[in-house]
């Protein structure tokens, strides 16, 4: 009676125990879900190991390549020359790094706690009991899937060669070299080419296989009975067939009978076909891949920049902008759908990608929404410009967007799409041409100033809190002796207005043209000065100094 009760209690206890373990892990899963730190650590590891654009990852990859090569060198050297204690210690460290990398990658592969939570919530929702076994299996399955992926198997096998007692494990040293595929992107591309062309390669190998088989059998039948023959076994025949079909032709085994020679001749021709076919497949695949490789390079280079301009469209306007950006040493990247334009850009030494600038993923790869601070829509097509503007504004609310509009109507649409500034080439020309007709000398002068063509610049100098300029009157600055001309002062609307000067309204700001000597400068004002570069920089330098440091 009592033993029966006990035997009933024990399973329930066990079930309880299992249940409480399950509950504990679910609670843990929720904790992980909520934990900021867990999220941060995972994000850091992801950047380090898997993010293709991260700078840290390229450092990590470089470190791993060195580690693999050094460890392989040691292992090879060790075959004939015993190494000491330190080499063993190094090997132990390498294996330690490999094992932790393997585990980290497995951890990064997916989020187990999310699966657990999902199962738990589904059970709660449906009012069903939580089945710990099913949940466990759901958690383990993706991990097993990861472990059976080729790269993961290579990672695992790369750990093995350091296990001394089994000498044949030394062979796995090769797997350590295969690990290099993971860290070098160009090698990875080679593997990808093979995968992508697997249908062609499969056809090719089927063809080669049957040719070799037929040749092997034929040469064996004709030659093995002949006097002075070198083809004694089927293995000899196969070896001869492979050496001949690949057009290597060592000449250690040669057919002696006329029938055998005929087979050889046919096989040589088949070999030429096979080789050229294989070469063309691989060359073609690489040619297609080259563009992608180059683009990846550009993405990686772009990732290192912090303040980037994306130039969409490399027509004449795009070229002018690119040259100017390059001259002022600003980082930029060019997108154009025309391959020739992209090649021209590359010849000029600019970063360029061929592709549709309306493609959101392409723009994201180029840093839109992250490090891109401005985007210029300069394509010939107004429709594209509107589309790019809209995409950019959605992905990045505070990016600076400058767009070209060929038609006047487009300007309004661009404003609706969220553009910061519109440039209309025809309007700019019209304005210039019309002004020039009226006052050629004056207009040339102003144009030189605005475009800095004559060495004279029109530049803003901001007044900041604590600057020497703050609370100075215009008359006290003595601009004339500094060889500067004050065009005017821009003041935010929020600051107190002055009425004794000619005032112009800008959007949200006032512009005081040629203010008299009595205007008091406030923090937030912008002085617009005309002068030579040297005088301007001198003034700017002095203006930014702290008030107390400048002698009155």
């Amino acid at each position: 009676m009592r033993s029966a009760a006990v035997s009933r209690i024990i399973p329930t206890r066990l079930a309880d125990f299992a249940m409480s373990i399950a509950q504990l892990s679910v609670r843990l899963a929720y904790r992980l879900q909520a934990s900021e730190r867990h999220h941060r650590v995972k994000e850091f590891s992801r950047k380090l190991l898997t993010d293709p654009r991260s700078h840290r990852r390229s450092l990590f990859d470089g470190f791993m390549i060195v580690l693999v090569l050094v460890s392989v060198m040691f292992l090879i050297y060790e075959v004939r020359h015993p190494l000491g204690y330190w080499a063993d210690l190094f090997e132990a460290c390498v294996v330690g790094v490999f094992i932790s990398e393997y585990l980290l990658r497995m951890w990064l592969y997916n989020d187990s706690h999310k699966i657990l939570i999902e199962h738990w919530e589904r059970a709660e929702l449906m009012g069903l009991p939580f089945r710990a076994g099913a949940a466990l299996w759901a958690v383990l399955r993706p991990k097993l899937a990861y472990m059976s992926s080729p790269m993961a198997i290579i990672d695992l096998l790369a750990i093995l060669p350091s296990y001394r007692p089994l000498r044949f494990l030394r062979l796995f040293l090769l797997f350590r070299l295969l690990k290099l595929f993971r860290y070098t992107r160009s090698l990875g591309a080679f593997g990808q080419v093979m995968v992508e062309k697997r249908f062609e390669l499969y056809t090719l190998s089927l063809f080669v296989g049957s040719v070799v088989l037929i040749a092997t059998v034929a040469i064996y039948l004709f030659e093995s009975e002949a006097p002075h023959t070198r083809v004694l076994t089927l293995m000899d025949a196969l070896y001869w067939a492979v050496i001949t079909v690949t057009t290597v032709g060592y000449g250690d085994i040669v057919p002696t009978t006329p029938e055998g020679r005929v087979v050889a001749m046919v096989l040589v021709f088949a070999g030429i076909g096979v080789i050229s076919f294989a070469t063309s497949i691989i060359v073609m695949a690489f040619h297609e891949k080259m563009r992608e490789l180059h683009d990846n390079r550009v993405y990686a280079a772009v990732e290192r920049e912090s303040d980037l301009t994306i130039v969409c469209g490399f027509g004449r306007i795009g070229q002018v902008v690119a040259e100017r950006l390059a001259a002022s040493k600003q980082a930029f990247v060019i997108v154009d759908k025309n391959v020739e334009s992209v090649e021209l850009a590359r010849r000029l030494g600019f970063l360029a990608v061929a592709g549709e600038a309306t493609d959101g993923t392409l723009l994201a790869n180029l840093g839109l929404g992250r490090q891109a601070s401005s985007i210029l829509c300069l394509t010939h097509d107004d429709v594209s410009n509107v589309y790019i503007t809209l995409t950019a504004r959605q992905m990045s609310p505070d990016i600076l967007i400058v767009s070209r509009a060929n038609k006047a109507e487009t300007a309004k649409k661009l404003t609706q799409a969220g553009v910061s500034h519109v440039v209309r080439p025809y309007e700019v020309v019209a304005r210039m041409a019309a002004e020039f007709i009226g006052q050629p000398v004056a207009f040339d002068a102003l144009y030189d100033v605005v475009t800095r063509a004559a060495g004279v610049h029109l530049e803003p100098v901001a007044v900041r809190v604590g600057d020497w300029l703050e609370k100075q009157r215009i008359g006290e600055i003595d601009l004339a002796s500094r060889r500067l001309l004050l065009f005017g002062v821009i003041r935010p609307n929020a600051s107190p207005a002055e009425d004794c000067h000619s005032r112009y309204d800008l959007e949200g700001r006032h512009f005081y043209f040629n203010p008299g000597p009595r205007l008091l400068l406030l923090a937030g004002d912008i002085l617009i000065l005309i002068g030579y570069q040297a005088n301007l920089s001198q003034f700017r330098e002095q203006a930014s100094r702290h008030r107390r440091k400048v002698k009155a």
Partner: protein, 235 residues
């Protein structure tokens, strides 16, 4: 009123220029060889006429060599514009010719053909786009004031014969300037077309026919004009 300016080409660029000119109330006429384009310009409400610009008599009949003061070469091809500039310059040496170019190497050819000013739409637009990234506040300011519709203009004032400014130094002129205008600089027409900026520190000796470049509201500019026209310095 007889048109003073002739716009060759009835394309979007020319229509844009036409709108600018009509805003400043300058009488002009649009001309093209292509009837469809002429019709399109008429649809926009602009005065347009079909002529063959390769024919000198046709050019003369429009008024080049007589009442036309300026010609805009805005045709679609650089070669057409070069041809037009050469023809117009031959007919009227004093004509003011402005041309738009498509390819950058055409600019030199247009100048050689007799154009006074060549504007490259792409060059200018590119420069503007770059300015907008680098110094948006300056571009915005110029847009709204000098280039825009507000009353702040750039003007050139030629020193007339008999003005008190003849033989006077630039610094002295500045002392007498009470108007709310900025003196950007002066162009000495005898020495070439380069502007001597007033900030440069060269105290230029003013002369008849020197051109002063000033910026200011139109009333002030007129007052400045009146001041320098007098034969004696203002009190």
């Amino acid at each position: 009123m007889a048109p003073k300016f002739a716009l060759f080409g009835c394309n979007p660029l020319a229509i844009e220029v036409a709108w600018r000119l009509s805003m400043t109330r300058l009488p002009f006429i649009m001309l093209d060889r292509d009837t469809a384009k002429v019709e399109a310009a008429r649809q926009e409400g602009l005065e347009a006429e079909r002529i063959d610009y390769t024919d000198d008599d046709a050019l003369r009949s429009v008024g080049i060599g007589s009442h036309i003061e300026g010609v805009f070469c805005l045709l679609g091809e650089d070669s057409e514009n070069v041809f037009l500039a050469i023809s117009a310059r031959a007919l009227a040496p004093a004509l003011r010719i402005v041309a738009a170019c498509r390819a950058p190497e055409a600019a030199a050819k247009l100048l050689a053909a007799g154009a006074d000013k060549v504007v490259d739409p792409y060059e200018i637009s590119g420069a503007r786009v770059h300015e907008l990234i680098e110094r948006p506040e300056v571009v915005e300011l110029m847009e709204h004031t000098v280039f825009g519709m507000q009353d702040l203009n750039i003007a050139e004032v030629t020193i007339p014969g008999g003005s008190w400014l003849h033989g006077v130094h630039l610094s002295e002129l500045r002392r007498h300037m009470k108007q709310n205008v900025i003196l950007l600089g002066v162009v000495d027409m005898e020495r070439g077309k380069d502007l001597i900026f007033s900030t440069r520190g060269i105290d230029h000796n003013l002369d008849y026919d020197d051109v002063l470049v000033v910026i200011g509201p139109s009333r002030e500019v007129e007052a400045f004009h009146a001041m320098i026209a007098g034969s004696t310095p203002p009190a």
